[in-house]
């Protein structure tokens, strides 16, 4: 390193500076190991923006299934909004007498047909009755019933209700 100092000294001491970064490397290794350990692989479930899931003690198994999200303004199927809600309520014209939402049922029927087509083409794939329901904690039971009824009429009868794991 060239001598940078403008100060004049009597002795020609070396002014090379070695930054001690060993401890920093140690910290980085620990952080990296922690992050790698807690890093989720495979199917990850994350709630939509503005959604607060209820808290409960539950298993942490992850599933590959059709995902239905119920927020204050809409119902989404696999991330795509299919029904508009008004303060968690379906529009009266959308709900049939048996509680099934026409628009949601149509979207789930499409998903079901897709599953059946894949199962027909590939014998190792089976039609799955599982459905992942992510609903805001303030959702009234009437809306939840409509969602579950719409899913059940299309063959989705094994419900997996997503919650935030608590104590």
């Amino acid at each position: 390193m060239a001598r940078l100092s403008p100060f004049k000294g009597k002795h020609h001491q070396s002014e090379e500076m070695a930054l001690q970064i060993t401890s920093m490397a140690d910290i980085f290794v620990i952080i990296l190991v922690f992050l790698l350990k807690s890093y989720a692989t495979g199917a990850t479930v994350s709630p939509a923006a503005g959604m607060t899931l209820p808290q409960a003690q539950a298993g942490d198994q992850s599933v590959e299934a059709v995902k239905v999200e119920v927020t204050r303004d809409a119902v989404q199927v696999d991330g795509l909004p299919v029904v508009k809600l008004k303060d968690f309520a379906f529009e009266a014209t959308d709900v049939q007498q048996n509680g099934v939402s026409t628009a949601l049922s149509k979207a789930l029927e499409l998903q079901r047909k897709r599953q059946v087509q894949i199962a027909q083409a590939n014998s190792s794939v089976k039609v799955d009755a599982r459905i992942l329901v992510m609903s805001d904690q303030k959702t009234p039971y009437s809306t939840l019933k409509s969602v579950l009824a719409s899913a059940a009429t299309n063959g989705y009868t094994d419900f997996k209700l997503a919650v935030v794991r608590g104590d």
């Binding site: 290794v29 990296l32 209700l161």
Partner: protein
Amino acid sequence: MSAGTLPGLGGKGQQSQDFELNITSIIDTFTVLITFMLASASFLSIGLLDAGITAGGESASAAQPPSVNVEISLAKDQGIIVKLTGKVTQTLTVPAKDGKWDFDGLSHNLAGVKSRFTDVTSATLVAENTIEYKEIIRAMEMTRKTLPYVLLGGF
């Protein structure tokens, strides 16, 4: 980082064998990795509760029905009603405690039912339309401690 003089390597010259390991590039790599992982990590721990419904399904179940059917109803006044039908017809009421749901009382009542009818493993949960989802989940959680299979009803 430095290391002392290595033994056994005799040399004629008195050259210093101290060396410095250059870990700057490793630090750079770690920084990039940590930044990426922090940005993509989810610190919310999501769990899944199994539930079924009392209606729907493609085929009828061949399972033997239990000696009593247990139906749990959540009312608007935060009272809980446990109805037993089958061998015994009985209604147990769990009133609100300090204006809140008494889920401990529910759990106590269900434990009593389970001790009388050991073959009972499931319960049907029904709620009024305005009851919020978080209360349904709380009730499910408490019921599952005694009866592991919870079906949602009221369709």
